[in-house]
Every structure is written in structure tokens, then in C-alpha cells.
């Protein structure tokens, strides 16, 4: 294998895929990237057995072939070369030689057949979707995923497709986040997949906030998202996501309407003096007044009063303030509507804005 490439053209795809190469590898070949030549140029593949990233580089190839090269060393060499330098890569059997100007590096390779790649997906459901919208679906929900929960199906983000669109749902059992987008998915029956936490974070890193479309493929075992430069593939979690519709509070008769920014700031201030472990705050509702109170084991107290639109009965209810802040931070738009029923029932946070996000937070007993 032999090719010549400019530093910048090589560096960017390397940086994009390096994220999945873990630093301490039990299997040496996973510390490498797979380099293959194609008709159009190069494909670079990195994997941690759970998430796979493939970058395409358009290039003229002098001699074809495939091998694996140490990922971090290759990246570091590229990064430290002078700008716009040309790099010549040549692989003979077990050694790869890199030349640029008067620099010369010899890297150890491992055989490409040792490198596990994910084949074409089986039983695929494919459709196109704007990159910005996919990013939004993830950004507005991913923080509610559970972390290392024994209910392993919660340690990921559920994506659901139906005729009308695509929906993302995440929950850790204490709160739930949901976001919907209309799309022409072309599916007849609704289909659910759970993308593991790590895949979600990696995908979020790759997506950009513009209008270009990405292709989403759902297979029986994998999800694949192809952006113009990078192909992302993640394993799916093998489990059933709980029925989120049953969690949505119904019949909340007490409705608060207020400015999202003001409420968020007030909560953020009050939260400073809430118990650092449990993060409890007390909300007291009265006509057009919301009182927020917090105190901690050192007997320090915070109290804040906020003018809101509220016509219901008085109510006192406790929440974990982190969950409220997360939801308010992720919600789009200037206004927020909160629906409550009583001190023992969960609340629904939403606004009528774009993206149709809903957040459910369970109360705390204070």
C-alpha cells in the first residue's frame, strides 16, 4: 500500500474517529485504526467493539492494500507535522513507513484480518433526516439516560420510528425526557431501538447543526448514521424499553405558565443552598406566586419568590432541583408550562414550541 496525502486532509478524519479508540486496550489491535484503499481513496476505521467510526478520504492511491496502524501515534505524528506538509505512507509487510520532508517514521502494523469490522446491516430500515434535527433529538433528551443501572435497557437512548416521525426517549427511573420530530420515515409499523450511552455521546460529537441530511439505517443489531464524511455504527442494547406513555402524567389540573429563563435562574440560585447529596428544593404555589425554598444540613437557607401565571389551589411539592434544571435547560423556546396535580404525582414540563419536547420529573418527599 502506498499513498501521498496532505497533512490537513489526513488530520481531520483521524481526529474525528480517534474518540472511540480507548487509551488502555486489552486487545492491541483495537488501539489501531484500519486503513483500506478503495477506488475513491482511503477508508479509515476505528472501533471499540461497541461503536465503529469510518471516515472516507478522497485521494489518489499509488498502490492498494489494507493494514492497521497505531491510532494515537499516527495522529500525533500528523498533528505535529508543519502545516500543509505532504505525508507519504508506504506499507510493506509488517512495517509502515511515513515520510514527510526530512522526517521519517517507521510504525509497526497488525494484520487487517485481525480487525473486527461491522458488515452491512441486516433487515434494514433506512431513511434520510436533517442532521440538525437528529442532533436536537439527542441533545434534548440524552441527559436523562441512566448511568450503569442494573436495568440495562435504561443505559441508553430509545429511538422510535413510526409513520409520522421519529421520537427519542430517555429515562433513569426518576425523570424522563422525550422529543419528537416529524419525518418521512417510510415505516409502516413503529419500531424501537435502544442506542447505548457511549454510542449516543459519540454520535452527538459527530453531528453538526446544519441542514445537510444524514442517512439513518436501523438494523436488527446495529444503528448506522452516515454523514457526508463519517459513517457511525453502534451496537444496540438487547432489551425492551419501558412503556413511556404510561409515565406521562394525565389529568394535571394545576398549570404554571412562566418565562423559562427567569425560572431557571431562580432555581439555579436557590439550588446553591440545597442539600448537596439529595438536591431537594421545595416549591410552594399560591395565586400567581411561586416560592422556591432550599436548605442544607448546615441550616443555611435560600428563598426566592417568582411571579408566575397560576390560578389553581395552593400546593407544596418537593423536587430534585438538578432534574428541573436539566429539563429547563434542554427545553427550547422562551416560555415554559408546568402541569402538576398533587404533591405525590410527577410533573410535566413542556412548551408548545418546535420539536415538541416533554419532560416528566418525579417529586421528592421533603
Amino acid at each position: 500500500m502506498k499513498f501521498k496525502i496532505q497533512r490537513e486532509a489526513f488530520l481531520k478524519p483521524l481526529q474525528q474517529i480517534i474518540g472511540v479508540v480507548e487509551r488502555r486496550q486489552t486487545l492491541p489491535v483495537l488501539g489501531n485504526i484500519l486503513v483500506q484503499t478503495t477506488d475513491q481513496g482511503l477508508t479509515l476505521t476505528a472501533t471499540d467493539l461497541e461503536v465503529e467510526l469510518v471516515a472516507q478520504v478522497g485521494l489518489e492511491i499509488s498502490a492498494g492494500g489494507e493494514t492497521t496502524l497505531p491510532a494515537r501515534k499516527l495522529l500525533d505524528i500528523c498533528r505535529t507535522l508543519p502545516e500543509e506538509a505532504w505525508l507519504e505512507v508506504q506499507v510493506d509487510q509488517e512495517r509502515a513507513t511515513l515520510r514527510s520532508g526530512k522526517s521519517r517514521f517507521t510504525l509497526a502494523t497488525l494484520p487487517a484480518s485481525d480487525f473486527p469490522v461491522i458488515d452491512e446491516l441486516k433487515s434494514v430500515q433506512a431513511f434520510k433526516f436533517p442532521q440538525r434535527d437528529l442532533k436536537e433529538l439527542i441533545e434534548r433528551t440524552h441527559f436523562s439516560m441512566a448511568q450503569q443501572d442494573v436495568r440495562y435497557y435504561l443505559n441508553g437512548l430509545m429511538l422510535e420510528l413510526d409513520k409520522k416521525g421519529i421520537r427519542s426517549v430517555a429515562t433513569d427511573g426518576h425523570r424522563l425526557a422525550m422529543c419528537e420530530m416529524a419525518a418521512k420515515t417510510g415505516v409502516s409499523d413503529s419500531q424501537q431501538v435502544i442506542v447505548p450511552r457511549k454510542g449516543v455521546q459519540e454520535l452527538l460529537r459527530l453531528l453538526e447543526g446544519d441542514e445537510t441530511e444524514v442517512e439513518i439505517q436501523l438494523g436488527s443489531n446495529h444503528i448506522r448514521v452516515s454523514t457526508p464524511n463519517i459513517r457511525f455504527t453502534s451496537k444496540l442494547i438487547d432489551g425492551r424499553f419501558p412503556d413511556y406513555n404510561r409515565v406521562m402524567p394525565k389529568g394535571g389540573d394545576k398549570q404554571i405558565q412562566t418565562d423559562r429563563g427567569f425560572l431557571r435562574q431562580a432555581l439555579a440560585r436557590t439550588s446553591i443552598l440545597s442539600n448537596e447529596k439529595y438536591r431537594g428544593i421545595r416549591l410552594s404555589l399560591d395565586k400567581n406566586i411561586l416560592k422556591i425554598q432550599a436548605h442544607n444540613p448546615e441550616q443555611e437557607e435560600a428563598e426566592e419568590e417568582l411571579e408566575i401565571q397560576y390560578n389553581g389551589d395552593t400546593l407544596e411539592i418537593g423536587f430534585n432541583v438538578t432534574y428541573l434544571l436539566d429539563a429547563l435547560g434542554a427545553l427550547p423556546g422562551d416560555d415554559v408550562r408546568i402541569l402538576l396535580s398533587d404533591a405525590n404525582s410527577s410533573c410535566l414540563i413542556e412548551n408548545g414550541g418546535r420539536g415538541h419536547c416533554k419532560y416528566v420529573v418525579m417529586p421528592m418527599r421533603l
Binding site: V29, S113, P116
Partner: protein, 328 residues
């Protein structure tokens, strides 16, 4: 390619008929004495299940992509759980990591297989963290636990697995196989290895056979006062695998057999006469006591980081004293 040993044909056919019928249990416990090839069997079986083009007799082809990955140890659906290098225990973090990977769907769409060797070296926290996965894994998961000491596994682990036994093969099968591997003294080696062919092959390849005589000589000298127990302990403790102690146990066992007249069943058949001479110097009670002592200390040395020097000193002093006490 992993071999299937001729004495495993029955277990092989049994497991594959279960795979074909779709009735393979998700937890398998392979048990049997050391050196009969349980670990090789587990690997060969996993490979044959994950291979994309298995041969007609259901063995892995060794050429398809899956087989190449498995040979490189990088197949995403084949996970191996062993104690980390320079450690004797499988720890909880390893098990958690394994369970985390097993809840994902499989890479190639088939089975996800985890092989845990030796299963009895999971510490109790690690074993407990495996229970949930072992009881109710996701579809197409297969956990293979391999151990020569099933009694050391907790009952909660054992009850979640289907046990598959690998007894030592018949002497004929064993010596046939050994002779194919250019081993002389097959009969003696098999005896010394308690009938386990792989262990016998191991013995043939290292210097144990000749060293055995030295260790017995040293024990005799020790008893007659020509050797100092402390100095001998220093020498013996340099053996990483504690072989001298193991063989001391073996001699003691044979001496006990000799004193009770079971000449045919002794292992060290080549040392028969010498062992008989020593055995006469001790009472049966002393021999039993010493044997217990050796075994107990062997176990301790394997499971924890005891001071080997002290441990050996104690045993060797016991050995040199036991006979004297009787004379006095």
C-alpha cells in the same frame, strides 16, 4: 485450530445436538480434573458455534472472517474472562464489564459467548455480580464456566449452570494420545498425572520427571539429618509453581497406600521400593497428618500471598521431626 481430544467426542456430540435442537442452556459449567482439556474444549466449541462455514462434522473452518478474528482474539462475540496477569483472582470490575457487553446485541447476529476460566477464581464479589446475568441473560447469550474445583463455586453459581463433566479418559485412550505426541514412558506419566493426558504431556516437556528424584533424595537426607530444613526451604521456595511441595504430597499419598497394602494403586510406580523404605520409618498417623498439612499449605499458597519460605520451613521441620519422635 483448537483440537478436540478423542476422549471428548461424546460431550461434543451432546452439545451440538442441543445447539441443533435449539435447546442449549445459557450457562454451561465444564468440570473435571486438571489436564483433560476442558478449556480447549470450551474454545473449540465456541469457535464452532461462531464460525460462518462450519465443516460437516461441526468444527470451525479456520478460514472464514469469524475464524480469523477468533484466532486473533478479537471476535466481538467471543469474550474471555481470565484473572489479570500476575493476579490470581477474577475481580468484580472485569465481570461488570463483561455483563455490560453481554446486554448489547451480538456483532454478527449469532451467539454471544463468554468463557470464564478458571471460574473458581472469581472472588465472591465478582461471582455475585455475575449472578443476574447468569440467571437471565439476553437472547443468544452463552456463558461457559470452566473449573476443576466446582465445589469452590458458590451454590448460587452452580445452580444456574448446566454441568458437563469431563472425566479423565481411559488409560488406553490416554496413552494412545500420548504416544502420538512422541512421549516415552506414557504409562508412568499418565499415572503421575492421575490419568490426565495434557498434564502428562506437560510433565514430559518439563524437567519434573528427573527433578522428582532429587526432591525425594532431599527429603531422605533431611530426615537423616544431612540437610538443614531452612536451607532446603529456601531452595524449594524458588520454584514458582511449588512443585516440590506438590510432589511431597504425592509421595506421602503413595506411602500411605503402601502402608495399607495397596501397592497397585500408587502413582509413583517407579519409586515404589524407595517409598516403601521411607514409609516404614513413619506411623500411618504421622503420614496422614503430614499429608493434610501439605495439602492445606498448597491451597494457601495458591490462593493467597503467604510467605512461601516460612510455609515450607514449617512443613519440612515437621517432616524431619515426625520420624524422630517415634524413635524417642
Amino acid at each position: 485450530m483448537n483440537p478436540i481430544y478423542p476422549w471428548q467426542a461424546e460431550q461434543w456430540a451432546q452439545l451440538h445436538s442441543r445447539v441443533d435442537a435449539g435447546r442449549l442452556a445459557h450457562g454451561l459449567l465444564l468440570t473435571g480434573p486438571a489436564g483433560v482439556g476442558k478449556r480447549d474444549f470450551a474454545n473449540a466449541f465456541a469457535r464452532s458455534v461462531l464460525c460462518r462455514q462450519p465443516t460437516v462434522d461441526q468444527k470451525a473452518c479456520g478460514r472464514c472472517e469469524a475464524c480469523l478474528l477468533m484466532q486473533a482474539g478479537t471476535h466481538p462475540d467471543l469474550l474471555n474472562l481470565n484473572p489479570p496477569e500476575d493476579k490470581t483472582q477474577i475481580v468484580i470490575d472485569q465481570v461488570r464489564e463483561l455483563c455490560r457487553s453481554l446486554v448489547m446485541k451480538s456483532h454478527a447476529g449469532g451467539y454471544k459467548i463468554a468463557i470464564i476460566v478458571p471460574a473458581d477464581q472469581m472472588n465472591s464479589a465478582a461471582a455475585n455480580s455475575l449472578l443476574k446475568t447468569l440467571e437471565e441473560p439476553t437472547d443468544n447469550t452463552l456463558l461457559i464456566l470452566v473449573t476443576e474445583r466446582p465445589a469452590r463455586l458458590s451454590a448460587t453459581i452452580r445452580s444456574r449452570c448446566q454441568q458437563l463433566r469431563f472425566p479423565s479418559p481411559s488409560t488406553e485412550q490416554g496413552s494412545d494420545w500420548l504416544s502420538q505426541h512422541d512421549v516415552s514412558d506414557a504409562a508412568l506419566l499418565l499415572r503421575l498425572a492421575d490419568g490426565a493426558p495434557l498434564l502428562a504431556l506437560c510433565l514430559a516437556q518439563e524437567d519434573t520427571l528427573t527433578r522428582r528424584h532429587d526432591w525425594l533424595n532431599e527429603l531422605m537426607k533431611l530426615r537423616s539429618g544431612q540437610l538443614d530444613p531452612v536451607r532446603l526451604a529456601t531452595e524449594w521456595s524458588s520454584d514458582a509453581l511449588m512443585r516440590p511441595l506438590y510432589w511431597m504430597g504425592s509421595y506421602l499419598m503413595d506411602m500411605i497406600r503402601l502402608t495399607s497394602g495397596q501397592v497397585e494403586s500408587i502413582n509413583n510406580i517407579d519409586l515404589n521400593d524407595r517409598l516403601q523404605v521411607i514409609a516404614d520409618l513413619y506411623s500411618p498417623q504421622e503420614l496422614h497428618y503430614l499429608l493434610d498439612h501439605v495439602w492445606q499449605n498448597m491451597r494457601q499458597a495458591q490462593q493467597s500471598s503467604v510467605n512461601r519460605q516460612l510455609l515450607l520451613e514449617e512443613i519440612l521441620i515437621e517432616w524431619s521431626r515426625a520420624g524422630l519422635r517415634r524413635r524417642a
